[in-house]
Amino acid sequence: MSAAVPVRPTAVAPTILEVENLKKWFPIRRGLLRRVVGQVRAVDDVSFTIRRGETLSLVGESGCGKTTTSRCILRALTPTSGAIRFRTEAGRQVDVAVLPKTELRPLRRQMQMIFQDPFSSLNPRMTITDIIAEPLLVNGVRDLEERRRRVRELLDLVQLPAAYMNRFPHAFSGGQRQRIGIARALALNPALVVADEPVSALDVSVQAQILNLLLDLQDRLGLSYLFVAHDLSVVKHVSDRVAVMYVGKIVELAPTAAIFARPLHPYSEALLSAVPVPDPRRRRQRIVLKGEVADPSNPPPGCHFHPRCPYAIDRCRGEEPALRQLANGHLARCHRAEELSLGGVQEGGETRAPKVRAAAH
């Protein structure tokens, strides 16, 4: 279904966020004296940009580093190294990674987060008015009436009745709580919203409501989203561009249509192949990867994906590939990207079968 989608300004809009060589390593400590014996390379040299008004999705399985990346961007975690350049309302570029704490607070107004778990993201002891108004209160809006007015405005924006203002979170369903979380995130009119798996914990029929809401809000308010998810179907519905992560690195970054139709990295191909398609007539031979997701504290040498990759050659075992630009806006981290012809999913049409099939483990 090609709904009338507003023209996307993404191609020419200015960049609002520029992440460069971001690293976040967690030390592993052993022994009585807590000596450092290793590092968990949760985020290992990640770079991407987000333009104003666009949605970039970070996709990957457990341990890939997408959640850690999202927390670094908001400085909920302090990066080990790298730069996170954010363009403020005033037009200045600030590096969030190294900003002193005092300057961080005013900046926080412009970047907010939507959390995954609707049950732990709201303080059960505060009314939803207090929850939504808190960002206003701590940022200087002293007048109670002013805050309440704004809360009503926000509740309207997320389609919750104002009659619920005095209720506590326990009175709401999961989907409604997510709406409250979204209202809170929007209270200060942020330019960038980091959504950390915002629909993973919701029922399917409610997911659709929240996804639509996020898209509508983006159009209305000109928001930029960094969308973290593990579900590729959800990603297809909300993203302009998609970054696939594996064990702390971005292995592919491309516009949505391109990456789904014709991925350039074998892991992306395997991910797409693994997603069950809700149409029994589209059953296909799937690529079943062997082995388990690599351990970020001890990743394989060379290309981290090589032990599971159906196309691996000797070079992959020894030499780590760089993230290279291969087509317009399409980057992949694979030595063989140019020569492989990988299969993806076409909208509504035939599924492009993968050329090289892997043995079922």
């Binding site: 369903s173 029929s205 179907s233 297809k236 249509a257 809700p278 079943v288 990867l289 997701v293 079922a360």
Partner: protein
Amino acid sequence: MAEPILSVRGLQTWFHQDEGIVRAVDGASFDLEPGRTLGIVGESGCGKSVTARSILRIVERPGRVEGGQILLRRADGRVTDLARLDGQGREMRAIRGGEIGYVFQEPMSSLSSFHTIGNQLIEAIRLHAALGKRAARERGVELLSLVGIPRPAQRIDSYSFELSGGLRQRVMIALALAAEPRILIADEPTTALDVTTQAQILDLIRRLQDERDLAVILITHDMGVIAEMTDDVVVMYLGRDVERGPVDAIFHEPKHPYTRSLLRSIPSVLATPRSRLRTVEGSIPHPYNRPAGCPFHPRCPDAMPGLCERSLPGAVALGERREASCFLHEKPASGATAPVPTLLEPRA
């Protein structure tokens, strides 16, 4: 058409809580045929997990199977109503594992951390077969190899926490198949796993089904998994089955408004990027607040005022193996619904 190996009729499982009675399952009926996969799909509160646990009579207290029939055709041909058996009794224990295997949702918490997987496997094997320890252990290694665990002879002595999620789920499957059951019930077997691991596990289940001619009941909320894995589907909502049929018919000719709304609202990799989804209005009611009449009527785009909020629609046969519980399909004059022929008659 083969006779079903398992037939559930009008199953009711209620939870008697202080605040009231929660009718987790309140009228579920479906058939499972040998060698085929039946998918039970629904969202939270629909009762799919409770249905599966009711079949094996392992519903946790204060839940109880209150009514209905669970007809199992045994290996020797006779039919037993599991709902009538003593839940703790000998016969039911022999059936658990021996005739029906169960794979749990959370591999992390469903395996004991205090015993090696070998211990658990051998226990399961010896409960249903008179084998000595050595022979049981050999069988255990065979089973591990069957489910694709590398180096099974060494792994059999590992503890569950030493294994990854995918491997643990394979062990769960091995446990479920230890006593060579003819039916396998898998309750959301891949929900807690990564998508590539999910592909591995589903692939494994399908292969095992082919090799052993298992009848599989697959419980999930993921319509994609249903489309990939099942032959027949039961759609549940708030404790009742609202539609049944072959998977192709369910996806391409859904008859119940809930099924239609659900199919329209699921995100899909086949969609146009950034396309809006059609939503189902409202949210799933709290079990204490069951709507009167048809449980779906407050959210139904086709609700008929005066009828749907007052009466409960019965199951209407719409073809071979095809049923929907909706007044849209009922013949208004007769009022009563055409009863679905029971394929399995309970014999004394």
